[in-house]
C-alpha cells in the first residue's frame, strides 16, 4: 500500500494502486513523548484523536510519500506531526546499524520513502532535507526513493504517485 502524507488541503496529484491519503485535520494532536505506544499499548498510540494507528499504518506500507512544504530543511509541521505520531512503527529495543544505535524493527516491511517538497528553499535547506530523510529512513531501516523540490505547488503539475 502507498501512504501519502500531505499538508495540502486540496491535494490533487493522481495516485495509482491501493493507497491512503492523510491530509490536515484539526483533531490531530502532537506526540507528547510519553512512550506509552511502546510499553502501555505496544504498537499503538494512546492519544485517541483518530491518528493513533499511524505506526500500524506504516507497517502495512511499501511506499510512503510526503508532499509538503519544506520548513528550514525539515518536513512541514503537519507532516512532521504525522511522522512523530508513527513512533510505534519501531520496536523500543535497540540495534546497532552502520555503527549507530537505532530501533529494532516491529514489522517486516521495508518502506521506500519519497518526499516532494514545495515552497522556496535555499541550497542549505535542500542539503539538510536530503540528509534528514536519509537519517530518518536509516532509523526506520527503510530506503529513500526520491526527494524533489518545487518552487510552488503549481510546479508539481504532471507528477503522479
Amino acid at each position: 500500500m502507498k501512504l501519502i502524507v500531505t499538508d495540502l488541503e486540496n491535494f490533487n496529484l493522481p495516485v495509482s494502486g491501493e493507497h491512503k491519503i492523510i491530509k490536515p485535520d484539526s483533531r490531530l494532536c502532537r506526540c507528547v513523548g510519553c512512550f506509552n505506544c511502546w510499553f502501555k499499548t505496544p504498537g499503538k498510540c494512546v492519544i485517541a484523536d483518530g491518528f493513533d494507528d499511524i505506526g500500524a499504518l506504516w507497517g502495512k506500507c511499501d511506499e510512503v510519500y510526503y508532499v509538503c512544504r519544506c520548513v528550514y530543511g525539515s518536513l512541514s509541521p503537519f507532516a512532521k506531526n504525522i511522522q512523530d505520531r508513527g513512533l510505534a512503527y519501531v520496536h523500543p529495543d535497540f540495534v546497532i546499524r552502520g555503527g549507530e544505535m537505532h530501533h529494532r524493527r516491529r514489522y517486516d516491511n521495508v518502506i521506500k520513502c519519497s518526499v516532494l517538497f514545495y515552497g522556496e528553499t535555499t541550497e542549505g535547506e535542500r542539503q539538510t532535507a536530503r540528509k534528514l530523510m536519509q537519517a530518518a529512513m536509516d532509523n526506520y531501516d527503510g530506503t529513500v526513493e526520491r526527494i524533489e523540490f518545487f518552487d510552488s505547488v503549481e510546479d508539481m503539475e504532471g507528477i503522479s504517485l
Binding site: 500500524a56 530543511g73 509541521p77 512532521k80 539538510t128
Partner: protein, 208 residues
C-alpha cells in the same frame, strides 16, 4: 545580559530537557539574568514572545524526534521567525536524543541553523546529547552527575560561551557509561514498564 533557557520538550514535567536545564542554570554567573521559559505546545504565548524578544541569547532545549525537531517546536519557530527578525539575538541549542550517540542530533542542529538564517539571527551552536533516556529517570539529578560527567562539563562550557557571546560550535557528548550498558538498562526499563501496565514481555513486539 539576559539569557532565555527555553524548555521546548513536549512534556510538561520530568523531561530530559528539563534535567539538562536544571544542570545548566547553575553555571551562569549571578549577574546574568536567566529566564526559564516554556515552549511545550504548538504556539508561544504573547508573554513568552515578549520575554524572548527582550533576551540577548536563547538556549533551546528539546528532544530529537525522528532525527529532527518535534513538530510543535517547528510551529513555534515559524511563529517567532517574523517577530524576531532584525533583533540582535544569539541562538544556542541543547538537543538530546534517546540513542547513545549525541552525533545523531547533527541534522537537527542544521535545521535550527536554517531557522536562524531565515530569521536573521546568529546561530551559535550548542550541545548534542546522547543517552537522553537516562537523564530524566533519576529522582535526584545531582546524584547522577557521575554518570553524566562529559555532558555536565560541556554544559558548563556552553554557559561560558553564552555569557561571552561566543559561537560554541556544535559539540556532541553522551552519558559516561558504555553503549552496551545503556542499551541493556533502557531495554530493562521498557520491560519493567510493560509489566507494570499488565502486558506480557512478548507484547512489546505486538503488531496490528
Amino acid at each position: 545580559m539576559t539569557v532565555a533557557l527555553i524548555n521546548a520538550s513536549p512534556k510538561l514535567s520530568h523531561s530530559s530537557s528539563w534535567a539538562l536545564i536544571k544542570n545548566t542554570v547553575g553555571f551562569f554567573p549571578n549577574k546574568t539574568n536567566v529566564k526559564m521559559l516554556d515552549m511545550h505546545t504548538n504556539t508561544v504565548s504573547e508573554n513568552t514572545v515578549s520575554e524572548l524578544l527582550a533576551a540577548d541569547a536563547w538556549v533551546l532545549f528539546f528532544p530529537l524526534y525522528v532525527d529532527a525537531l518535534p513538530s510543535h517546536v517547528l510551529r513555534c519557530l515559524m511563529q517567532l521567525e517574523e517577530r524576531a527578525r532584525g533583533k540582535t539575538l544569539k541562538v544556542y541549542a541543547v538537543i538530546n536524543c534517546g540513542f547513545y550517540e549525541g552525533e545523531q542530533t547533527e541534522v537537527a542542529f542544521e535545521i535550527v541553523e536554517n531557522f536562524c538564517i531565515r530569521a536573521g539571527l546568529e546561530f551559535c551552536g550548542g550541545v548534542g546529547v546522547g543517552g537522553g533516556g537516562m537523564l530524566s529517570t533519576t529522582p535526584v539529578l545531582e546524584d547522577m552527575k557521575h554518570n553524566k560527567t562529559a555532558i555536565i562539563h560541556e554544559l558548563k562550557r556552553l554557559a561560558k560561551s553564552v555569557v561571552r557571546g561566543r559561537n560554541h560550535g556544535v559539540k556532541f557528548k553522551s552519558v559516561s557509561i558504555p553503549r552496551i550498558m545503556y542499551k541493556v538498562g533502557a531495554e530493562a526499563l521498557w520491560r519493567i514498564n510493560a509489566v507494570k501496565y499488565g502486558n506480557k514481555l512478548s507484547d512489546l513486539g505486538k503488531r496490528y
